[in-house]
Every structure is written in structure tokens, then in C-alpha cells.
């Protein structure tokens, strides 16, 4: 069954997606960065446009010229200079965190400047009418213009990149900027690429304005969802991306004509509203690989560089644990309102620690911790509803998430960097849309705290217990043969393989542990609130969390705990948007301080220790690991005997 009228509606949706996909791909082809902040930049431009027309009373045309000619390219130039130029040469992960930072930063700015308010009167630049087709069908002008723009960009860019010398230069700069700098004006070309990429975001915002309400999240999410189309095109082929976007758009509206038995209607509805998310998920699961520079060590750019990375505890980990737990215990003496706010800290800290485990230890960028956290909460509530005592459910629910982490991690873990990151995000998005948003699963769900811990004080103590458990797990992953194997993996994967380490199994195992931990954090979050709020586990939330952990340092569990406390404190103590702004600024500047805040602290600590050591004795201090002590003892015995 095919309905022409629906198909035309679908074409309009497909055009929006095609524009987003072309924007993503074009930016990727001319800058080498998969700019997942494309949507956020577009939304920011749309808000600026609204401000110019509705508040300052500019004519729409003037405002459009201002946005397209000055604001959008300006953002691109600024980003190139401040964010991406220092990051050149760092791997896919470093760039990914930076783009996440740009996304969070723009959202934060929108919240700060416009209070995150939604507007229905976004200025439209295109005429509102439509063309009549035979059979009383109508095709809106805006769709026609968008189709033309998409075709024009795709055609012109393909020609430029493959058929001209400038295209060759651009490709050279994208490939290796330092190498290119010696023979071409690389900085100018890169700046030009970024200005063009942001210009496309601005263009998208102007074209989209009449179709969408102006609101911070919807367009950002739309672009994130259309990543599936870009992935289908393997980040290389513009025509494939355009075709796929139009096809999915039309398929989406055609699905609305499907009316199965009532009990399945909800599922069909979920399908047609979320077809792009499904395409993203399916494309990532099925396609063998992206046409993308995806190799290189995974955590590269996130870990602190140059410093020793042994399995031995270093300064921050040798901080007296007593002091640490004392600080965490402080909220017990806060007044009730503050204590209630502080309840979010240990739960969030557990989730952050799970990110440290996944990214810092297994080297897997996970943008999907929100999904696992939500599942932990959901499983706990379901178990409790099935008669399991709440305290047992609090432990068992998260344990059930670990196998799900295993299942989702297994097919993708061999693919690294961006690929895995997108897959984890897609997983979280699918879970959010098909589970957390479905009344079948979450309707009538009640959450309460375990008996004996209903009081805020006691519940906070329980949460600290959960955090302690998480830190114990981190310790186990840090010491002994398992810890050694993980450090080995991080230092050199080929060498780890040659030593007989089953890299895939080890990574998936740690990834599953991280999923379980996130589940525990989610279960604690829901228990603290005594309700299951799907918004707590929104996929975009997962992006913010990841950026926050990256800022504090992906290989520092202590940094993650402090980071969680700081995030909650900023959110409680200031207006909405400030925390996003801070995380965003931190993440985009990560190129300037690799390894994050904890690395800076550690470097300072190392410097202190080094200067003390050199006071005490000449020559480097020798601190032996357990294995080293054993060996030294053996050698001494031999020497004596």
C-alpha cells in the first residue's frame, strides 16, 4: 500500500533529514570531524535569527544575511581556531569529546540567553504557499527549495572535492594537517572548511524554522537521529545519504497508514515516529565499517599523555581514603533541603565511575550510559513489583543490566572510536524510545526506597555504600592480573594480543561491568527520587555525562566522584545552563589540557613528589610493585645462596 499524499508529507520530513545528513557529511569531508554538534549550532543560529527579527525588529532578509554571512561562519572560524586547531593530530576520541563539548556549550548558551524557552513564531524566509499537483496533491514551496539546496550542495561539493585542485588540497589537509601545512595554506583551508560547515548549519536553521518550533532539544535531536543516514552512506557518499534520508522520511509517513490490531498500534506508532533512530541502530549493527579514520588507540587524547601509566597506585589514589569519605559524609549534617539535593551526588557518581570503567579502563567511548542507567532503574522496579524485596531488587536489577551491556557491546567492540560511540548512543536512544517512552513498560510503575532506608539520612548512607561497592570494583580492575592486562591493552593492543590476551573478551567484559555499574547508578537515582523519570535517562543526558567525565579525566575514579559532586552543586546553586556551559567550555578546551582536570592535579602532585624526592636523595625514587618486590626478594636469595 502506497499513498501519494503521505509520500509528499514524507518528502518534507526526508528533506529536513537530507539537509542534516548533507550538513554532517559535508562538514566531515571538508574538516575531517564528524560534527555531532551540527544540530546544536543550527538551533543556536535559529535563536539568533529569532532575536534579530522578533526582538530587534530587523527585516527577515537582513537577519538571514547576518546569520548566514556572519554569525554561522563566525562560529565555524572561532571553533576552528580555539577548539580544533589545538586538537589536530589527536585521535577520533579527542575530536569526539570536543564536538560533544560544542554541543553542550551551545545548549548551555541557549538556556542562559533565552532561558531555553520554546517559540512558535520563528521567522520564515520561504514563501508559505505550495504547488498544486494532479490528484489534489500539494507540494509546499519549502520542500522544493530544500530539495534544490540539498541537490546543489551535494553536487557542487562532490565535484569540488574530486574534480578540482582545491578539493585535493582540502582532502590533504583533512588527511594530515601538519604534513599538508608544509606545502599548502593548511590553516586557511581548515578555517574555510569550518566556516563552510557552520554556514551549512546556519542554512539548515533558516530553512527549518517554519517547520519546527524553536526549542533547544528538538532540532539537536533530529540531527543526532539523522546520523543513521550519514552512517548508511559510510560518511563518504553524499548521494547515498540524500537518497536514504528521503526514503526513510517517506517510509516513516507511509507507516502511519498501517493500522494493525489495537494492541500492536503502540509499537507501530513507536516505529514510525522513531524510524531514523532505528535506521541508525541497524546501520551501525549491520555495516562492516565506516569510511573513516577510525583507527588509532581509542582513549588517545583523553588519557593524560607523557605521564607514567602504571598499574601502581599514584598520588591521587594514595590520598587518605578517610579524608575522602569524611567529605562525602558531610551532607549528613546538611539541612533537609540540601541533604535532599545531595542525594543525587552518590547516584550520579556511580554513573560517572561506570564511564571511567568503560572509557578509562576498557578504552571504549560510551555515550549510552543513560540507557543502561535507566534499565537498571526499570529492572529494579519490575523486580520489586514481582515481589522481590527492594534492597535485593536494588542489587539484582543492575546485575541484570550487565548481560545487556555484554550483548550490545559484543558486536561493536571490535570497531573503535566513533563507531562504538555512535552505537552506544543509538542503543540508548532505542531504549529510551522503545522502552522508557512506552506505557506498556513504564506505565503504573512505582518506586520506593528499601525499608529501613526511607529516611533521607539513611538512604544517603545506603547510596554511599553503593558508591563504595563501585569503587571496590574499580580497584579490582586496577590491580592484579586483570589490572595489568588492562594497562597492557591500553599501552599496546598488538603486544597484548601477542601475550595471549583475548582483547575482545576482556573489553566486552569490562564494558558489561560498566553497564552494570551504570544500572546501579540509575537504580539509586530512581530510588532517591522515589519515581522513574524517563527524562533522567534521556539519551542527550548521556552525552552531557560523558563530556563531564572527560573534563574531569577519564582514567580517574576520584575525579569522577568529585565531578559528580561539582555538577550537582552547580545545578542546585545556579540557574539552568551554567553547568552545561562549564562542561562545554571544559570539553572544548580539552585539547589544551589533555587528560582533564585530574591529570592537571596529578601532574602537580607528581611535581611535588619529585621535588621532595630529589631533596631527599639523588636519583629517581624506586617504588616497587608487588611483582617487583617478589622478584627483588628472589634475586637477593639467589645472591645470598
Amino acid at each position: 500500500m502506497f499513498y501519494a499524499g503521505l509520500a509528499l508529507n514524507g518528502l518534507a520530513i526526508g528533506c529536513v533529514a537530507a539537509l542534516a545528513a548533507v550538513g554532517l557529511l559535508a562538514t566531515y569531508r571538508v574538516t575531517g570531524v564528524f560534527n555531532i554538534a551540527f544540530g546544536a549550532i543550527a538551533v543556536f543560529c535559529a535563536y539568533v535569527m529569532w532575536q534579530c527579527v522578533r526582538v530587534w525588529g530587523m527585516p527577515v532578509g537582513v537577519a538571514a544575511v547576518l546569520v548566514l554571512g556572519v554569525v554561522a561562519p563566525g562560529i565555524g572560524l572561532l571553533l576552528e581556531r580555539v577548539v580544533y586547531r589545538p586538537l589536530r593530530g589527536s585521535g577520533a576520541s579527542g575530536l569526539l569529546v570536543a564536538t560533544l563539548g560544542v554541543l553542550v556549550l551551545h545548549l548551555g548558551l541557549i538556556f542562559l540567553l533565552w532561558g531555553g524557552r520554546s517559540y512558535v513564531d520563528a521567522p520564515a524566509i520561504l514563501p508559505a504557499g505550495d504547488v498544486r499537483l494532479p490528484g489534489s496533491l500539494r507540494l509546499p514551496y519549502s520542500t522544493i527549495v530544500e530539495l534544490c539546496v540539498v541537490a546543489l550542495i551535494a553536487g557542487a561539493l562532490t565535484f569540488l572535492l574530486t574534480g578540482t585542485r582545491v578539493g585535493l588540497l582540502v582532502r590533504a589537509v583533512v588527511d594530515d594537517r601538519d604534513l599538508a601545512a608544509a606545502s599548502v595554506p593548511a590553516d586557511r583551508l581548515a578555517a574555510g572548511g569550518w566556516a563552510f560547515g557552520s554556514f551549512l548549519a546556519g542554512l539548515a536553521s533558516v530553512l527549518w524554522a517554519p517547520i519546527y518550533h524553536l526549542d533547544p532539544y528538538s532540532l539537536t535531536l533530529t540531527v543526532l537521529e539523522t546520523m543513521g543516514v550519514a552512517v548508511l552512506a559510510r560518511l563518504t557518499s553524499l548521494p547515498v545519504a540524500v537518497g536514504a534520508a528521503l526514503a526513510v522520511g517517506i517510509g516513516q509517513t507511509e507507516l502511519t497508514a498501517l493500522h494493525p490490531a489495537a494492541r500492536w498500534q503502540g509499537l507501530v506508532d513507536a516505529f514510525h515516529t522513531n524510524l531514523f533512530v532505528l535506521v541508525l541502530f541497524a546501520a551501525l549493527m549491520v555495516l562492516p565499517r565506516l569510511g573513516i579514520r577510525d583507527s588509532g588507540s581509542v582513549g588517545a587524547g583523553l588519557h593524560r599523555s607523557g605521564a607514567r601509566r602504571t598499574s601502581k597506585p599514584d598520588l591521587v589514589q594514595r590520598l587518605p581514603l578517610g579524608t575522602f569519605s569524611l567529605v562525602l559524609g558531610l551532607p549528613l549534617f546538611f539541612d533537609p533541603a540540601d541533604l535532599r539535593a545531595a542525594l543525587a551526588v552518590p547516584a550520579l557518581a556511580v554513573i560517572f565511575v561506570s564511564l571511567v570503567v568503560a572509557t578509562g579502563y576498557a578504552g571504549q567511548i560510551s555515550l549510552g550510559q543513560a540507557g543502561y542507567a535507566g534499565l537498571g532503574a526499570l529492572f529494579m522496579a519490575k523486580l520489586a513489583a514481582g515481589g522481590v524485596p527492594w534492597l535485593a531488587a536494588l542489587v539484582l536489577g543492575p546485575l541484570l543490566v550487565a548481560p545487556i551491556g555484554w550483548l550490545t557491546g559484543y558486536p561493536t567492540i571490535r570497531r573503535q572510536g566513533l563507531y562504538l560511540a555512535l552505537t552506544t548512543f543509538a542503543t540508548a536512544a532505542v531504549v529510551a524510545r522503545f522502552v522508557f517512552a512506552q506505557p506498556v513498560f513504564v506505565g503504573g510503575l512505582t518506586v520506593s526506597r528499601p525499608p529501613g532506608f526511607t529516611d533521607d539520612h539513611w538512604f544517603y548512607v545506603l547510596e554511599l555504600g553503593g558508591l563504595g561497592l563501585a569503587l571496590l570494583l574499580v580497584r579490582a580492575l586496577h590491580t592484579g592480573p586483570l589490572g595489568r592486562a588492562l594497562v597492557a591493552l591500553r599501552d599496546s593492543e598488538p603486544a597484548a594480543v601477542s601475550a595471549g590476551i583475548d582483547v575482545r573478551r576482556l573489553k566486552v567484559f569490562v564494558f558489561a561491568c560498566a553497564a552494570g555499574l551504570a544500572g546501579l547508578g540509575g537504580a539509586l537515582t530512581a530510588s532517591a527520587a522515589e519515581a522513574f523519570n524517563p527524562t533522567d535517562f534521556d539519551p542527550v543526558q548521556g552525552l552531557v555525562w560523558f563530556a563531564a567525565v572527560a573534563v574531569w579525566g577519564v582514567d580517574s575514579a576520584v575525579g569522577a566522584v568529585v565531578g559528580a559532586a561539582a555538577l550537582v552543586a552547580v545545578d542546585v546553586g545556579t540557574v539552568v545552563g551554567v553547568s552545561g556551559l562549564l562542561i562545554g567550555v571544559g570539553a572544548v578546551l580539552l585539547g589544551w589540557f589533555p587528560g582533564g582536570i585530574s591529570a592537571v592535579v596529578r601532574r602537580g602532585g607528581d611535581w611535588l613528589v619529585a621535588s621532595q624526592d630529589s631533596d631527599r636523595e639523588a636519583g629517581p625514587a624506586r617504588r616497587l610493585s608487588p611483582a617487583g618486590r617478589e622478584l627483588a626478594a628472589r634475586l637477593r636469595e639467589r645472591g645470598a645462596g
Binding site: 607514567r308 601509566r309 602504571t310 598499574s311 570494583l473 579490582a476 580492575l477 592484579g480 592480573p481 586483570l482 595489568r484 592486562a485 594497562v487 597492557a488 591500553r490 599501552d491 599496546s492 598488538p494 603486544a495 597484548a496 594480543v497 601477542s498 601475550a499 595471549g500 590476551i501 583475548d502 582483547v503 573478551r505 576482556l506 567484559f509 561491568c513 624506586r622 616497587l624 610493585s625 611483582a627 617487583g628 617478589e630 622478584l631 627483588a632 628472589r634 634475586l635
Partner: protein
């Protein structure tokens, strides 16, 4: 059959046969060298044997056991050890820990046991193996130094220690002498001779002809994906083919 046996190995990239039906025996108790010009397929062959690259035809057996379908780490556990052309070691771990990683992953252990901190029953054997290897390679003095801070020559030895700590039956070395000074090359040759005498099957890919003359029992000359000449190193290097490749050397 002890040692490593390669039969009919093929690997194509696009239309080009990088390795074109190679038969090669690496017997236990001897050092076998693989020589040839750049692009002859030596490194590809090496990768096909270790499993880092897939092969389009042929078999690889170690002491009678077929390794062909196994993943690289499984080949390592089956007794194959190798080092890399560009030094790959665990820069953040100490020399002793590097060897230890080699020794303790020889057999799989449930990961959950490690997570729960259960004691490893093989701890003592692992410790002994590590001590022995470090002493043999003269690394005992630097056992507790982070491997990343050592000079190149010593790093090569650390790689070797990691490989040997797993107590392999066959050892593959990709240009082990590059980056070493003359004294270190002599020492490496010495170590390899002793290892072979103890019954290890050793395969070298190497450019340094003096090193090959000093250490190898057999040499195979590889050109354009095929083995064109085999025999004692001096005999192989005396062939006209080898003369073309190595013109002007020595």
C-alpha cells in the same frame, strides 16, 4: 613434526598477490631467516602466520596442531610468540610486569575470578618463569624500571622477554636487530643461538645480512611473494638472485 610448518600460504591485496603460495618449514632447534627486498611479502607472511592478517589460502601448523583458523591471541596461547618491527611494549608497566603479562595470560582464566580478587593458583609458576627469563636476557637489573624509559636495545630485549615468558614453542621476530648497536646485536645473536639450542623454533625477518650470517641455520629468499631460494645463508646470498637484491652490500 615439531616446529612451525607453513603450506601453500596465499594472501592477495586487490589484484596483487602479496604472498603467492609459500611453503616454509621452521624446525625446532634451529634459527630460520626470511630475507628479500622491500615489498616482497615478508611482513605480510609474518602477519598471516600470527593471525594479524587473514589468509586467502594455505595452512599454518605448529607442532602438528592446525592454527589456521585461530585468532591471534589463541595462536599465542597455542605456543606461538612474536615481536614487532616497531617496538610494541607496555610502556607504563615495569620490565618485570611486561614479562609477567606474557606469562600469566598463557592460559585463560575466568575474568570474574580476577574481578572478585580470587587468588591465582598459577601465581608461583608465573613468578618463577618471569625471574628465569629476565635473568637469561640480562634484564634483572632493570626489572623494576618502567619499560617506556629504557633505551631501544633494551626495549627489544623486553619485547623478547615478554614473548619468552609465555614459554613458547616457536618464536617469530620481525627485524629484531633494527635499532640495535653492534654490541647489542652480538648479544641478541647469542641469545637466539642459545634459545634454538634449547629446542625453540625461531623465524627471523631481517635486513641485516651480517646478523643473518651469524645467527641463522637456514635462509629463505623471498621475492614478489614467492620463496625463490633456500639453503645455508651463505649459499643463498651467493645466488645471482640475492646478488641482484643485495647488490653493493658487504
Amino acid at each position: 613434526m615439531t616446529g612451525l610448518a607453513i603450506r601453500g600460504l596465499r594472501r592477495r591485496f586487490g589484484g596483487v598477490a602479496a604472498v603467492d603460495g609459500v611453503d616454509l618449514d621452521v624446525p625446532a632447534g634451529a634459527v630460520t631467516a626470511l630475507i628479500g627486498p622491500n615489498g616482497a611479502g615478508k611482513t605480510t607472511l609474518f602477519h598471516c602466520v600470527t593471525g594479524l592478517d587473514r589468509l586467502d589460502g594455505g595452512t599454518v601448523t605448529l607442532a602438528g596442531r592446525d592454527l589456521t583458523g585461530l585468532a591471534p591471541h589463541a595462536r599465542a596461547r597455542a605456543g606461538l610468540a612474536w615481536t614487532f618491527q616497531r617496538i610494541e611494549l607496555f610502556a607504563g608497566l615495569t620490565v618485570a610486569e611486561n614479562a609477567r603479562v606474557g606469562a600469566e595470560n598463557r592460559r585463560g582464566r575466568p575474568l570474574v575470578a580476577g574481578l572478585l580478587g580470587l587468588p591465582d593458583p598459577r601465581r608461583a609458576t608465573v613468578g618463577a618463569a618471569v625471574g628465569l627469563v629476565l635473568e637469561r636476557l640480562g634484564l634483572a637489573a632493570v626489572a623494576d624500571v618502567p619499560a617506556g624509559t629504557l633505551p631501544t636495545g633494551t626495549m627489544r630485549l623486553v619485547e623478547l622477554a615478554r614473548a619468552l615468558a609465555a614459554e613458547p614453542t616457536a618464536l617469530l621476530l620481525d627485524e629484531p636487530a633494527s635499532g640495535l648497536d653492534d654490541r647489542q646485536i652480538v648479544r641478541l645473536a647469542d641469545v637466539l643461538r642459545t634459545l634454538a639450542a634449547d629446542g625453540l623454533a625461531v623465524l627471523l625477518v631481517e635486513h641485516d645480512l651480517r646478523f643473518i650470517r651469524a645467527v641463522a641455520d637456514t635462509a629463505h629468499l623471498m621475492i614478489a611473494g614467492r620463496v625463490e631460494a633456500s639453503g645455508r645463508p651463505d649459499d643463498v646470498l651467493a645466488t645471482p638472485l640475492a646478488h641482484d637484491v643485495y647488490a653493493g652490500e658487504d
